[in-house]
């Protein structure tokens, strides 16, 4: 244990003395390692460690939060005393911490502490070499191995006492293709909440090759033209469109303040009836999964939209107090230094029945977005954007020439109604989502989907 159960209880007891009705003590110890290969040489190999605790006290929907890297008895008790000075109410009963519940839904084979730099180097070199040997146009390639082990213990005033071990492993591959005049890039970044066994599932060579293939396609692509047109978005990371156009606006951080386009829309139609979507934090070893959320509740599967009807928001316990709705166990944070709040886990659009040919049929002029980059949204207006990292024009129902440098912009409320066909093959893509409580691993996902019209921006004519 990072901090003894006895001390955790003492901290909770002292915190509760001045009348708050919620105490959450979050203790974390995390080690992270990375190694990168550029130009065939290991140019970076290092690790880092953070260790500390945060304490949150609330009464109703008002809270105070404090974090510290000093986890000795005196420092933690001082933090509890200082925070408790914000409350002046009659003390509420404290339930003693129960037996520790350990999260064990996700099995890990090879923990980062058992992975050597040599093993990481081998993976990176394999993907680097695959990128470099893809074609003579690939002038540079790089690859980076990241893994981390986060241990958390959460104790609360209601006796809840849980621990979770979160193991993440990810490989980034990048390639640059050049013809001497211009240069273009390709990237892949597969990851899972698992250890080194990730490389039984994914091949470093295939990832390196894929990055090189994308760079090469982009080198020969013309700048994407601008305009409003139908767009087919491929599966996998394509799901970033749902993450931006809808996901963020369903989080308590925006809905709870009344600043989401989907405030007061539960039970109402917000999307085309062909669309259903879920946020599932329980998928075994998935990038956005965990055993418990950061308020100590077990992760669950949430049905967000069913046949176009909004069925659930994503809510943390403190956010739920403001909304007078129960938590959906969606509380997450980057680290003990940042106060947790409602966040996504593995969010995806449920598969439908359409084939790619059926989607292409009838599109005279449009865009096929085969691969997507990140994006962003302002939940209050619903206006969002994301980048296309590999795209092709659609001409007369057929996928035509490659185009580069496109971004798509739209409004969440409109776009969800404009998604008119949903394909069969679901795939998930890994990303780091940045929001109020920092940067956290999430999966986005979808089968291929068709949008009747959306604004495409590019510098082409």
């Amino acid at each position: 244990m990072i901090v003894s159960k006895k001390l955790m209880q003492e901290v909770i007891n002292l915190s509760a003395k001045t009348g708050c009705d919620y105490v959450e003590l979050f203790v974390e110890d995390t080690e992270e390692n990375w190694l990168s290969v550029m130009g065939g040489e290991v140019d970076r190999a290092s690790s880092s460690r953070i260790r500390g605790a945060s304490l949150r006290l609330a009464l109703g929907d008002f809270y105070v939060f404090g974090s510290t890297d000093k986890i000795d008895r005196a420092s933690l008790l001082k933090l509890a005393f200082d925070l408790s000075q914000s409350f002046h109410d009659s003390p509420k009963p404290v339930t003693s911490l129960g037996a520790l519940k350990k999260g064990k839904h996700h099995h890990i084979d090879i923990y980062p502490e058992d992975v050597t730099y040599e093993m990481r180097k081998d993976i990176c070199l394999r993907s680097y070499n695959a990128s470099k040997s893809y074609s003579s146009e690939i002038v540079q390639a790089f690859s980076r191995y990241n893994d981390s082990h986060q241990s958390v213990v959460i104790g609360k005033m209601d006796g809840r006492f849980v621990s979770d071990e979160r193991i993440y492993t990810r490989l980034f591959c990048g390639a640059i293709a050049s013809d001497g005049k211009s240069q273009e890039t390709g990237f892949t970044g597969p990851g899972r909440m698992m250890g080194y066994e990730l490389f039984k599932l994914i091949s470093p060579e295939k990832e390196g090759e894929e990055a090189a293939r994308m760079a090469s396609v982009n080198l020969h692509a013309a700048p994407c033209p601008s305009g409003v047109m139908p767009v087919i978005i491929n599966n996998g990371f394509g799901g970033v469109i749902f993450h931006e156009s809808c996901g963020h606006a369903l989080e308590a951080t925006s809905v709870g303040r009344g600043v989401s386009i989907f405030t007061n829309k539960l039970g109402k139609q917000i999307a085309n009836s062909c669309l259903s979507a879920v946020d599932d934090g329980t998928i075994e070893n998935a990038w956005g999964s965990e055993n418990f959320d950061d308020e100590g509740y077990p992760q669950i599967k949430r049905e967000l939209i069913k046949n176009g009807i909004l069925t659930s928001y994503m809510i943390d316990e403190i956010g739920g107090r403001k909304m007078k709705i129960n938590s959906t166990h969606s509380s997450r944070t980057e680290s003990y230094k940042i106060c947790p709040t409602s966040r996504m886990s593995n969010t995806y659009i449920v598969p439908g029945k359409a084939t790619l040919d059926e989607m292409l049929k009838g599109i005279k002029y449009g865009l096929y977005a085969k691969s997507l980059g990140g994006g962003s949204v302002v939940p209050a207006t619903g206006d969002f954007n994301f980048a296309v990292t590999e795209g092709y024009m659609i001409r007369n129902g057929k996928i035509a020439e490659a185009v580069k440098g496109a971004s798509l912009v739209g409004n969440g409320a409109e776009i969800l109604m404009n998604i008119d066909m949903i394909g069969k093959e679901l795939d998930l893509g890994q990303g780091m989502c940045g929001s109020v409580s920092g940067s956290i691993p999430v999966n986005v996902g979808q089968p291929p989907i068709r949008i009747q019209k959306i604004t495409v921006g590019g510098k082409g004519a």
């Binding site: 130009g39 500390g52 929907d61 404090g66 962003s376 207006t381 440098g405």
Partner: protein
Amino acid sequence: MNFNKLFSLALEKGITDFQVIYSGEGNTSITVYDSKLQSFETSYSETLAAKGIYNGKMGTYITEVFSTKDFPSIVDHVIESAKTITSKDEVFIYEGDAKYKKLPFLYNKFLGEIKVEDKIKMALNLASMMSKRDNVTYAEADYNESNDFRYIINSKGLKLKVQNNGASLSASCVVLKDGDTRTGYETYVSNDFSKFDLEYLANTAYSNALSSVGAKPVKSKNYMILLNESVTSTILESFESIFSSEAVYKNLSVLKGKIGEVIGSKKVTLVDDPFLKTSLSSMPFDNEGVGTQYKEIVKNGVLQEYIYNLKMAKIFNKKSTGNGFGSGISFINFHFKPGRKTKEEIISKIKNGLYITDVQGSSSSIDSISGSFSLQSSGYVIKDGKVSDPVALITISSDIINLLKNVSEVSNTLKNGDDSPAILIKKMSVGGM
């Protein structure tokens, strides 16, 4: 803290040169909305970043756990890291400059003496000034304060310390008018508490929201575009890596081999000014202990120089420019040097154009390696020299070199928090209707 034992242990185990950066970071934040204090947050942590040369390679390790009993493990981590590096580039621990510039404005001791109650009161007042206005459905005020220190100590006798503090006060509001919801935002950054002007913040956030009611896309085509201060800063900062010698060395920069060449219009002068009084990121030395310096990177459109840390300076046969941070190279306050005309003068000469006041998606829709970008934008139409109808949900697309070559005016305006002035671009592609 005393690190003598750590240094002797490192040298005993075969590390030839060793350096630690011991830093601390404290933050306080206050959030007000729905007319009441919603939350009060504080955080504090200290970090030790250790690096050392072992068999000619630089090993590194960063940790928050560094009491005396952790010293052996820290040294082991540094050695493990060094053993793994295969890159043959020569690495350095620096003995220090003869003297460093003093930047007393980085720390204002009065900021910490102001009572928390007064900071909360200020945020409450700011939120209430906005919520009283017509059509406001949501008003939020956020106060954030930071207090940092950084020591650099190394085995070559270097011992440096710098202390910073700063605060920001932000106003955000949402207005609903004629069925249209719009947001407005303004922030002010300073470590002088008396500088926060609530009236200005509330008015600006509110008018930003209100003036964008009814915004819609314009037709897709090329436009003359004025980028405001914050948009110019966002775009330039997203492309700062192309000026890094390391990116050039690794074949990642479109500016490779371009020193002495024209890469922008005559109006373009780009500088890195680490002594900028209005910036909380100003600093006297980098993380390698090299004194920072004012430099013109691009002068009247001609690329003068890349920026260097110690390792890249050796490779390029140059001196470090004091831009060594983390394990790489970055700018401190990189910006366009202001021109002579006011923004109003520039606008008054535009017959048909757009004034872009906000861009979104800069982390994903800017490709610093190819140089291209395509950004979600909003702002206003400029017609016959006047700012008129609001515009939203469009994209502006170009590449950095084209943008620099098309700069036809640079304003004399500098805004708090943004280092660059507004710039006028002759022609840029817009995606809209």
